[in-house]
């Protein structure tokens, strides 16, 4: 019989995945700032400390660099830590351990070790938290060989990809958009995994491929619903993993639709859109393109506090609709 499927929020799905991982493997434990009795800044760990105790749900001091290093050291020596950054922005304080240590340890030591650490990063804008608590830094880490970087866009994927990350022998960085935490969706009970190297076609279409990440997947789907009424049939590819990227799914989609738009919240230049565009330009799909590739990304500014400015800084559904119309009608 199939596992019972319930509606869970994205945050509940992550919490359930962490509980299952701890039930299945005594080496799994959680570390982070205020993840114990406080329940985490976004209530993702919730009451896990009551169920698993302070020895497996460890509140760290406000020491992102040291804390990340402890997680790396524990992973290196046989444990399976899941380390929560309170905000993804605080990765900047821990870059040394993530980039120089976790990512390179296996390589530098000629394959003699592995670092099965999972790091979780609440990311993105939309909460009025301003410039230092709203960034989307996933492409920074996506640039580093040795790391795997994922951005689940649904509760189902959040649970399944976290469980895949815990089972993965290498360091996996999970970027969770803060506005997704309350999003509800169907999530099966029990253990299942979603592969870390596969994009997902969330909506099939003939006229245009939109490659989106994280919260932009839902925005692209909303845009696609409106565009359908206008006779524009959009295919939405949820990239899910930015390293290693599932190139083939994107290539096949572009060959089918002949048009490509990339939609992501991070600053537009030198980001995921550039990578996807270049990858298509280098592939056999290039010959299939009927129009220039379009990137919709974040503005070239820090995230502002004012809610109207904040919204204007990142792509919204009307922006996607408008850009898609132009692209399909050949305005660009």
């Amino acid at each position: 019989m199939d596992a019972m499927v319930r509606e869970l929020s994205y945050a509940q799905a992550i919490q359930e995945a962490m509980a299952i991982a701890m039930d299945m493997d005594e080496r799994v434990f959680l570390m982070g700032e205020d993840i114990g009795v406080y329940g985490g800044a976004f209530q993702v760990t919730g009451d896990l400390v009551e169920r698993y105790g302070t020895e497996r749900v460890i509140d760290t001091p406000i020491s992102e660099l040291g804390g990340a290093g402890v997680a790396v050291g524990a992973a290196l020596t046989g444990m399976r830590p899941i380390f929560e950054f309170q905000f993804s922005d605080f990765a900047t304080l821990a870059m040394e351990q993530i980039v120089n240590q976790a990512a390179k340890m296996r390589f530098m030591l000629g394959g003699e070790v592995s670092v099965p650490v999972v790091m979780r990063f609440p990311a993105g804008s939309g909460t009025g938290a301003a410039a230092q608590h709203s960034q989307s830094l996933e492409a920074w880490l996506g640039h580093v060989p040795g790391l795997k970087v994922i951005q689940p866009a649904t509760p189902y994927d959040a649970k399944g990809m976290l469980l895949a990350a815990v089972a993965d022998p290498d360091p996996v960085m999970i970027f969770e958009h803060k506005l997704l935490y309350k999003m509800k969706g169907p999530v099966p009970e029990g253990y299942y995994t979603v592969p870390i190297d596969k994009a997902d076609i969330r909506r099939e279409g003939r006229d245009l491929t939109i490659v989106a990440t994280s919260i932009m997947v839902q925005k692209a789907l909303d845009a696609a619903a409106t565009l359908e009424a206008e006779g524009i049939d959009v295919e939405v590819v949820d990239l899910r993993t930015i390293r290693p990227m599932d190139k083939q799914t994107v290539i096949d989609s572009v060959k089918k639709t002949s048009r490509l738009m990339c939609v992501y919240e991070a600053v537009k230049t030198l980001g995921i859109g550039a990578e996807v565009s270049a990858m298509i330009a280098e592939s056999e799909a290039f010959d299939y393109l009927d129009a220039p590739i379009v990137r919709l990304g974040g503005a070239e500014t820090p995230i502002p506090y004012n809610p109207e400015l904040e919204k204007a800084t990142v792509p919204q559904v009307p922006d996607i609709i408008s850009a898609a119309r132009d692209l399909v009608k050949g305005v660009r």
């Binding site: 290093g69 351990q97 240590q101 296996r106 003699e112």
Partner: protein, 342 residues
């Protein structure tokens, strides 16, 4: 560790710690390894000069008693994290010099299959989790290894070696604080050789002794003369006992000196010839240990000569092994970035 018998111990009652604690055979083995570290680094330096080794290296010549003293009470299961000046730690923890030379020569038989070189030398099987190219990079990692030990109840003690330069990195402070809060079985060993590259501790560090910083993290801060093997080993022994008893971390400051420059690019413009000469002539750790062994009757000139010639042979064999070993194939450049999955 099995040491001196009761009768022998009584006859040594007034001698320094190691001569009471360890057997003559163990102490001679220490001298052997101190020579092995010295000659290994001289051999590596010479090979570098001849163009057989590329890149750079950071030699610990002059700091051998520190590496050996700290590792003396450790068992094979205990773990260390090391530094860019980590050849001595690696040998002290049990590595074979032939595989170290092979690594420096970039060969597949090296400890890291030629991917790491001097700055990432490691011997995981013997508990050396690796040297580190980032000053202070290994300190939080050691705390993580100690957390593993506590959570898995393995009884392992972890030593984190670092230099005086690292004590001004944030990682040092964050890691010591967490280790103390969680009472982890870890020993922080600052090998203070007086200079972070060219900048003296007097110019870089607000406290007179780095061990003074232990007070901020409620752990014992112990200062030892890092060039006297017995002093270092005694401090390490006590710290290991404390860690194994679940009483938490210790900070040991081992005051020592590197005879060579920071790395191969160093022109030694920040210290005087007289200062270097003084440390080499009057405070060389191998000479000091050798003199004590002789004075206390553990070894004679013939025994010392035998050790020197055995070490010379092991070094020569090691270099030959490295030269004869194969280089990795360029087609394997992408190996070990990720775990190979079946």
């Amino acid at each position: 560790m099995a040491g001196a018998s009761k009768a022998v111990a009584d006859s040594r009652a007034n001698l320094p710690f190691v001569y009471r604690q360890y057997s003559a055979e163990q102490l001679k083995q220490v001298l052997y390894k101190m020579y092995l570290i010295r000659r290994f680094e001289e051999g590596a330096e010479e090979s570098y000069t001849r163009g057989l080794i590329h890149g750079t290296m950071h030699l610990s010549i002059g700091q051998e008693a520190s590496a050996m003293g700290i590792c003396m009470p450790l068992g094979e299961d205990d773990q260390i994290t090391s530094t860019h000046r980590g050849h001595g730690h690696c040998i002290a923890k049990g590595a074979e010099v032939k595989r170290m030379f092979a690594e420096f020569f970039g060969k597949t038989t090296g400890y890291c299959k030629g991917r790491g070189g001097s700055m990432h030398i490691a011997d995981v099987a013997k508990g050396n989790l690796g040297a580190n190219g980032i000053v202070g990079g290994g300190i939080p990692i050691a705390v993580g290894a100690a957390l593993s030990s506590k959570m898995m109840k393995t009884g392992k003690v972890v030593v984190s070696f670092f230099g005086d330069g690292a004590n001004n990195e944030g990682a040092f402070h964050e890691a010591l604080n967490m280790a103390a809060v969680w009472k982890l079985p870890v020993i922080f060993v600052c090998e203070n050789n007086g200079y972070g590259m060219s900048t003296s501790t007097a110019r870089s560090t607000a406290v007179k002794n780095i061990a003074d910083r232990a007070a901020a993290y409620s752990m014992p801060g112990v200062i030892v003369n890092g060039n006297i093997f017995s002093e270092v080993a005694e401090a390490s022994y006590k710290a290991v006992e404390r860690a194994r008893a679940g009483e938490g971390p210790t900070l040991i400051e081992s005051k020592t000196y590197r005879h060579r420059g920071h790395s191969k690019s160093d022109r030694n413009r920040y210290r005087t010839k007289e200062e270097i000469e003084d440390w080499m002539s009057n405070r060389d750790p191998i000479t000091l240990f050798e003199n004590e062994l002789r004075e206390f009757g553990f070894i004679d000139d013939k025994g010392i000569e035998a050790i020197r010639s055995e070490v010379a042979q092991e070094i020569a064999d090691g270099i030959e092994f490295a030269k004869a070993s194969p280089s990795p194939d360029v087609s394997e450049t992408g190996n070990y970035v990720y775990t190979e999955q079946a």
